[in-house]
């Protein structure tokens, strides 16, 4: 039999339970805040980079993180602001597509100093002790293959134009050097103009229009990315020279792959933005779960896409 004193204790215990129960159930109903991952992309003014950023973001979300994409608009100052926001905002990892191989090192170093791992995607920074890992398209090899195919298609004699990307970006030069490592061995192939169109379609259109006025009798144009290939092709159509001039791009963007299938563009190099971006998100996940031993630079193979094998490619990769 319970005494009045024990009843009082029981009553107090019940009251205590009653008081705490709602709070406990409220806590259980509220999801714990998810760890945040930042995806900093050089520019979203190019569909290829939109795919890269979105693939990184969606894989991070699949892995249980909150992920936000930041657009640097090809401006290292904007990129700096994004890094400062990511550090102040409590982001725990940064998936990073740098704007400038040298100019972006300081931003990655800032994150490193704050204890935030940085995983570079597609573009590198010229340092091996700042980023945790760098997943990089093997642009040089891709453009060696493209250069060999260029000689096959254009022949060992002719006049051509090269449109370069951003001059501060290593991808620009790795592509150009890979291409020239082949084409320059054929003295009959003359480069009549080489100009930067900054990886931008509208600029490529403008630059190509101006080049065509000075060099109307060219045989081919090699473009350091597919956005510029689209701009160059547009200029050639407008000038009525799209059947005379062979266009070569690089990236594997869907619109160029489609034009290759329609036999309007000759070839491109297929990078694998989704594969690289997903892998970077998985690396960040592994890091946040304790892994530390990552290879610093990981080249990712590039495939040559031509009118013969284009049916195997699409949606920014190889068809399964």
């Amino acid at each position: 039999m319970k005494t009045p004193r024990s009843k009082l204790f029981a009553l107090l215990a019940l009251l205590a339970l009653g008081a705490t129960a709602p709070a406990a159930s409220l806590t259980a109903a509220e999801p714990a805040p998810r760890t945040k991952i930042a995806v900093v992309i050089s520019t979203l003014n190019n569909p290829w980079f939109v795919v890269l950023g979105e693939a990184a973001r969606s894989r991070a979300v699949e892995l249980g993180y909150e992920a936000t994409v930041f657009d640097s608009q090809n401006d290292t100052a904007k990129e700096t602001a994004h890094f400062e926001n990511a550090i102040a905002g409590g982001y725990k990892a940064i998936l990073f597509n740098p704007t400038d191989a040298n100019g972006s090192i300081a931003n990655a170093r800032r994150a490193q100093a704050a204890g935030i791992p940085v995983f570079c995607i597609d573009r590198e920074i010229n340092a091996t002790n700042v980023a945790t890992a760098q997943l990089l398209s093997d642009n040089y090899s891709g453009c060696v293959k493209l250069g060999e195919y260029f000689v096959e298609q254009v022949g060992e004699e002719g006049a051509y134009v090269e449109l370069l990307g951003l001059v501060g970006d290593n991808n620009t030069w790795n592509r150009s050097k890979g291409f020239h490592s082949v084409v320059d061995r054929y003295p009959g192939l003359k480069m009549v103009a080489q100009q930067s169109a900054e990886f931008d379609r509208a600029k490529a259109l403008e630059v190509m229009e101006s080049i065509l006025q000075k060099h109307p009798a060219i045989n081919a144009v090699f473009c350091g990315n597919d956005a510029m290939a689209m701009g160059a092709y547009q200029a050639l159509v407008a000038a009525g020279k799209d059947r005379q001039v062979k266009v070569f791009g690089f990236d594997g963007a869907d619109d160029v792959v489609r034009l290759i299938a329609e036999k309007k563009i000759v070839a491109t190099g297929m990078q694998f933005p989704k594969q690289m971006a997903r892998q970077a998100a998985e690396f960040a996940d592994q890091y946040l779960k304790g892994k530390r031993d990552f290879p610093q630079k990981i080249p990712v193979k590039v495939d040559l896409v031509t009118q013969q094998n284009v049916h195997r490619y699409g949606d920014y990769g190889k068809k399964q």
Partner: protein, 216 residues
């Protein structure tokens, strides 16, 4: 104004400068072994390639698998051959191999020499390229060079150009000069084998060492 008072601002400025230098050192001492890896200074690809060729690649050829053994392994079980003998830098479905062996020249083409690994008169098992050499096969087949060693990938790629130049001048020129049907040779070679092409014969390879047997 006393001299002490006159120089006080100068002393203050010097002290402030020293303080700033202590907080933000203008010079950072870095161990020498990091120097090559952490600067964008001029990189001498030709010197690096010459050193790599003589000090590391040529000695590594002695450990390369026998070409006939490798071709047999590639045809019967490509994944096992890749695991045992291949190198795959980064993310790729292509595998690089080194190999060595002896064989007989069975054809001399404009850009390749066909070599039969068995007896004279057989079909070509290998095509040793004699045209212009491009790409990273020579650089990557040994697995001794890693992209992570190079802060700027342009330097890593410049090595391929220089190694290809060495192969063209020292090996391909000798192969072209000496190749004649029926002639026996000892060779070492590098190959990039794409996924799905493991059983293709003759296999295209890059010669990295060639010695002809004396004519009888």
């Amino acid at each position: 104004m006393t001299p002490m008072r006159r120089f006080a601002p100068l002393f203050l400025a010097l002290a402030a400068g020293a303080g700033i230098c202590l907080l933000f050192p203008p010079v950072r001492l870095v161990p020498l072994r990091h120097q090559a890896a952490q600067t964008n200074a001029v990189f001498n690809a030709a010197a690096y390639a010459a050193d790599f060729w003589s000090q590391r690649l040529l000695p590594a050829l002695r450990d390369a698998p026998d070409a006939a053994l490798l071709l047999s392994a590639l045809a019967s079980n490509a994944p096992a051959a890749a695991a045992a003998y291949g190198k795959t830098p980064g993310m790729s479905d292509a595998v690089y191999y080194l190999m060595q062996g002896t064989g007989t020249v069975c054809s001399v083409q404009p850009k390749a020499v066909g070599v039969a690994l068995g007896q004279a008169g057989g079909e070509a098992d290998l095509l040793l390229g004699t045209g212009m050499l491009f790409g990273n096969t020579v650089r990557d087949a040994s697995g001794l060079l890693d992209a992570s060693l190079f802060p700027n990938s342009q330097h890593f790629n410049d090595l391929s150009t220089e190694l290809n130049r060495i192969v063209e001048t020292r090996v391909i020129s000798r192969l072209k000069a000496g190749a004649a049907p029926g002639r026996r040779l000892r060779f070492a070679a590098a190959a990039e084998v794409e996924s799905g092409a493991e059983a293709e014969r003759p296999l295209k390879v890059v010669p990295v060492e060639v010695e002809f047997e004396e004519r009888p």
